[in-house]
């Protein structure tokens, strides 16, 4: 390690508090929506994650979308890659492609099981797991080889991040797993969505010794129904009662614009307080805002807290 290839990593290394956003390609050939979302997010985040078939739905490729977003919207991306759909040959190949096309950050994960997705009879690949994917990236970047030690021509310029779940029970097993990911060369952690500061504190206490930058995931919900869906469908997410109740109260508002405005207020209020508290605990490297299909909230939140730009400019 040591060399810095991306803006994300350079900000993290400089110890500046960063915001990252998230874009989720759909089952579509239309890139326009992604590009316009990315353009909206650009002012507020240092980089944008591009998801790889979340919930095991076969969508537009994360790599293709990531390249398009980076080139057309001019925002740096964190290309998510799961172990679910590709064996080590295909993963190596896509990582080479990513580096060649200018992607500089990848986030590796095992990926939701196909049985939960929209092609449930598909073969679950998992030739590698997320930890082994980290060591694949390390071999490519540090040694210029693939896992079988075959030489690669040209440099591979990628930073590799991993996911962590502060909500996990038992947390010890999750932390031990993160320890192993750190030991094989992961460079940053982005967490599953959290809704409370206590859970973050507990997590940071446990992973602090790994000395990896942690970007805490937050997921502002566009409506009470979204929050309810997430609660029931995304593994391991625990939503605080206060937040749920505040969202629930907006359900009775008939006027659509008024309702949206109220929901935005709830999110702004709840998450800006949370981010402020997170920033006070200097151990958090940044916040990963998963406002998928809810781009406007990212800008509102970041601006409310004082903005990323201000932060960056003052340094």
């Amino acid at each position: 390690m040591g060399r810095i290839f991306s803006r994300l990593m350079s900000e993290l290394m400089a110890g500046r508090f960063v915001y990252t956003g998230e874009l989720s390609p759909g089952k579509s050939t239309r890139l326009e929506d992604l590009i316009s979302s990315a353009t909206l997010l650009k002012r507020h985040v240092v980089a944008c994650n591009v998801t790889d078939n979340p919930r095991a739905r076969a969508n537009l490729s994360s790599l293709a979308a990531a390249v398009a977003v980076q080139e057309r919207a001019g925002v740096e991306v964190i290309c998510q890659m799961t172990a679910r759909d590709r064996n080590r040959l295909a993963l190596t190949s896509d990582l080479l492609g990513a580096s060649a096309l200018g992607i500089r950050n990848v986030l590796v994960m095992s990926g939701d099981h196909p049985s939960l997705g929209d092609n449930p009879s598909a073969m679950p690949v998992y030739d590698l797991d997320s930890t082994q994917m980290v060591s694949l990236v390390r071999a490519m970047v540090d040694n210029g080889t693939d896992l079988a030690r075959n030489r690669i021509e040209g440099e591979v310029k990628l930073h590799v991040g991993v996911t962590g779940n502060p909500n996990a029970v038992p947390l010890e097993a999750e932390v031990a797993k993160l320890g192993r990911k750190a030991a094989v060369g992961a460079e940053f952690i982005q967490t599953q969505a959290v809704f409370g500061i206590e859970v973050v504190e507990r997590f940071l206490d446990a992973v602090g010794k790994l000395e990896l930058p942690v970007l805490v995931g937050i997921m502002p919900c566009r409506s009470f129904r979204t929050a309810d869906y997430i609660l029931r469908n995304i593994p391991g997410v625990k939503i605080s009662q206060d937040y749920l109740e505040a969202l629930k109260r907006t359900e009775d508002i008939q006027d659509k614009t008024l309702k949206e405005e109220k929901v935005d207020e709830v999110n702004e209020e709840y998450f800006s307080r949370m981010i402020r508290e997170l920033r006070r605990t200097s151990r958090v490297a940044g916040v990963h805002i998963m406002g998928v299909n809810y781009d406007r909230i990212v800008g509102r939140l970041v601006e409310r807290i004082g903005g990323m730009k201000i932060d960056l400019d003052n340094e």
């Binding site: 099981h113 998992y126 082994q132 060591s135 010890e172 031990a176 192993r180 094989v184």
Partner: protein
């Protein structure tokens, strides 16, 4: 044990409809314990297919070619008179019967897995025959058989309170079980160890040098 399940009788009936005579082979070992290919089940199928049945026998362990030969020899005339063999045993037994008799083999059972028998009718998958047993490293919990993703380096983000995302959080997460077992044995250092990717070139064929 090799755990098997009966194919629906309609499926078997459809499979054997073009044959005049069928000889039924049961299994005296695993399929007897699973109650899928023992004496009672073989007789039951023989009765249902009636005149189509050329004969039947329960081979002590049809997957062992020597025992299959020993147990089928006394039934040679009946086997010879049949167009097909209906195998009420696992896939290994069925293929062994096919090799020996040279007949068309109709599988009467579906082979599910190598498993542990809790009690009659309650089986748990415990082994995937991976060719390179890792149980010492995993607290005696097989990650291939028991982790839906076959992961080698700990639980994924899909486990909630120790339960797996596959199957609606009803099954235990193999890696949480492994963590707890290793903790109980005072061997958490083993849990922490990095396990490199599996060498999938180690096939049983390559190891045994046989077809």
């Amino acid at each position: 044990m090799i755990i098997t399940r009966k194919k629906p009788f309609e499926t078997i009936e459809e499979s054997i409809k073009s044959f005049k005579k069928v000889f039924i082979v049961g299994c005296g070992t695993c399929s007897t314990v699973c109650q899928t290919g023992g004496e009672a089940q073989v007789k039951e199928v023989a009765e249902i297919i009636g005149e189509k049945c050329a004969g039947y026998t329960v081979v002590e362990s049809p997957c062992d070619a020597r025992i299959l030969r020993r147990d089928l020899m006394p039934k040679k005339a009946e086997v010879d008179s049949a167009d097909a063999v209906l195998a009420l045993c696992c896939g290994a037994g069925a293929q062994s019967a096919a090799d020996f008799t040279g007949k068309i083999v109709v599988p009467g059972l579906d082979t599910l897995f190598i498993g542990k028998i809790e009690r009659i009718g309650t089986f748990y998958e415990r082994c995937r025959a991976c060719t390179d047993c890792v149980l010492l490293d995993t607290g005696g919990i097989c990650p291939y058989a028991r982790c839906a993703k076959g992961l080698l380096n700990g639980p994924c983000g899909g486990q909630v309170d120790g339960k797996c995302e596959v199957g609606g959080y009803t099954r235990d997460c193999a890696w949480v079980l492994a963590y707890r077992a290793l903790d109980r044995h005072g061997r958490l250092d083993v849990f922490m160890k990095y396990r490199p990717p599996r060498d999938r070139s180690k096939t049983p064929q390559e190891i045994t040098g046989r077809k």
